[in-house]
Symmetry: C2
Subunit: 319 residues, 2 copies
């Protein structure tokens, strides 16, 4: 029998899970080559414009394999519905059969993406943080900050967004959750004196430049997940002390690292994969004044781990 779980049921089980640990273990398995993760499947739509990604695979020896479908249809808000949606399917690696369907409407993708930022900050951010700079005002601009809680107690945010209206909506939302939010007129202003910078926009040209980034800064660059998107001037990566990729193979093709590689500003041997940093924290920040960058493009192993964790918790509740 196929078990089917609603978003409400999924949200109810999340607080009892140590997703950060599960996803860390997933990144380690991925970097050790203990996963089977084929290239992402992709469908593109023109009218209305949209895209759907299929991320799938398994950790060798695991009881489950996972297929995740995630869509972004950017005219949806005009219809009164969210741009992003999706679901996760859990199958048995023993029989191939479907075991469970998580009708999470894309929420678990949002969560696993925010948790990757938290993990990156844990190994890369300086120990003392008095300001978080945020570029973008969307779901990830909010969730990346909220999920930073286990990594920093800082509640001072300076946010930049394309419109004042978006910035104000962001401030209201985050103020309700105990954050003190200042609005920045420029990306540089959001970055100034911040120890953690989160870039979470769909920009296709550099928003931040080398002069905007002071010593002792960690940047989580998570907006740029296609070959065309870009939020950082590649000179920032040249200048950085530590550059970390969630996936070496994916960031060769997409994200900030791909731009720096193409321009010859970054040598491949300077890039560490996040799973390796988790295994060997000395590859992460060792000195308070270092500049560190985590380039996150989203890896199927995050979906595999969050879906497996949720499913196992559901099964336990039931038994």
């Amino acid at each position: 029998m196929t078990l089917i779980y609603s978003l409400k049921q999924i949200k109810a089980v999340l607080p009892e899970l140590d997703l950060s640990k599960s996803i860390e273990q997933g990144f380690v398995a991925y970097s050790q080559g203990r996963t089977v993760v084929p290239p992402v499947g992709e469908l593109v739509f023109e009218s209305p414009p949209g895209e759907t990604h299929i991320k799938y695979g398994y950790i060798k020896g695991s009881a489950f394999y996972v297929i995740k479908v995630a869509s972004g249809f950017y005219e949806n808000p005009g219809l009164g519905i969210a741009s992003n949606s999706g679901l996760m399917l859990i199958f048995s690696t023993r029989t191939g059969e479907i075991e469970a369907i998580l009708l999470d409407q894309g929420y678990l993708t949002d969560v696993r993406t925010a948790i990757a930022g938290q993990i990156a900050a844990r190994y890369l951010a300086p120990s003392s943080v008095s300001k978080i700079g945020v570029l973008g005002t969307g779901v990830q601009a909010r969730m990346q900050v909220e999920y930073l809680k286990p990594a920093t107690s800082c509640t001072s945010i300076c946010v930049w967004g394309r419109t004042r209206e978006n910035q104000e909506a962001y401030r209201t939302y985050m103020a309700d959750r105990g954050y003190n939010v200042i609005l920045a007129d420029t990306p540089a202003m959001a970055a100034e004196d911040a120890q953690i910078i989160i870039t979470a926009t769909p920009s296709s040209s550099s928003l931040l430049h080398a002069g905007d980034i002071g010593p002792g800064t960690h940047i989580t660059a998570m907006g740029s997940d296609t070959p065309a998107k870009q939020e950082l001037d590649p000179v920032i990566l040249e200048k950085a002390d530590i550059v970390v990729a969630d996936s070496l193979s994916q960031t060769r093709e997409r994200g900030e690292i791909s731009h720096a590689l193409k321009q010859g500003l970054l040598s491949p041997d300077r890039i560490h994969e996040l799973g390796r940093v988790i295994e060997s924290p000395d590859l992460g920040r060792t000195v308070e004044t270092q500049i560190t960058i985590a380039d996150l493009t989203g890896v199927a192993v995050q979906d595999i781990q969050i879906a497996s964790a949720v499913y196992q918790a559901m099964k336990k509740e039931k038994s």
Copy 2:
């Protein structure tokens, strides 16, 4: 709200559908370039051995896109469960959201595969059929024959299989459905004097040779769907008057046509795509004595069409 349908509900709605017409229209759209069908996603498992395929896409202008997951785990019968399983997901091309899940356990894949054989026979088989030769004794060896009903009234079968036990089980099953089944000691014997030959085995070397095929024969070769599998000596394709592929691009890489191309026995311009034959039946059989071959590897557009047809019927029943 996501609608979820069981195999029982799906089977109940099938008889009222003209699936042959839907799938013909799908093949035509595919051959006309009116579909978006990315390369098949694939996961391979070692212990226990198994494979999972993800076929997906949409017909341009359609309200739905479809993602189909199909698995084959060949040790399942030892656990008392079927080797094949799967499900189909139906999404809106307007919003990207999931609309329905067909928990068909792989049944719709079996049906759409059998219907492709029926369509091929409609355009390629001779008008008078007195014997159907079948290689293989599995699900498709049965369903390909059963779904031939609209194309021929012939009920005389000669079957070859790897074991006498399998052959006898096949005879019992088909006899219950009104077929007269003779058991063949060799593949050649099953083919002898047959006007329709169905090859439905997982063989990886030729079972039939050019001398086994008489004039006025149509062969539906559907067992060979990977680069390694093969059921026909490529000389048969050289000798054939008409060679039809369900997908020109897929059969370049896998199936009987790929072997004949590699050996230089078949020129690409001699191969017609099934959708073109449906549009222009003169590309199919025109003379009773021709030898025709349909090489079927399974195309996502078949899944798209059967899933859409089932879903639309379900919605109509509900309203």
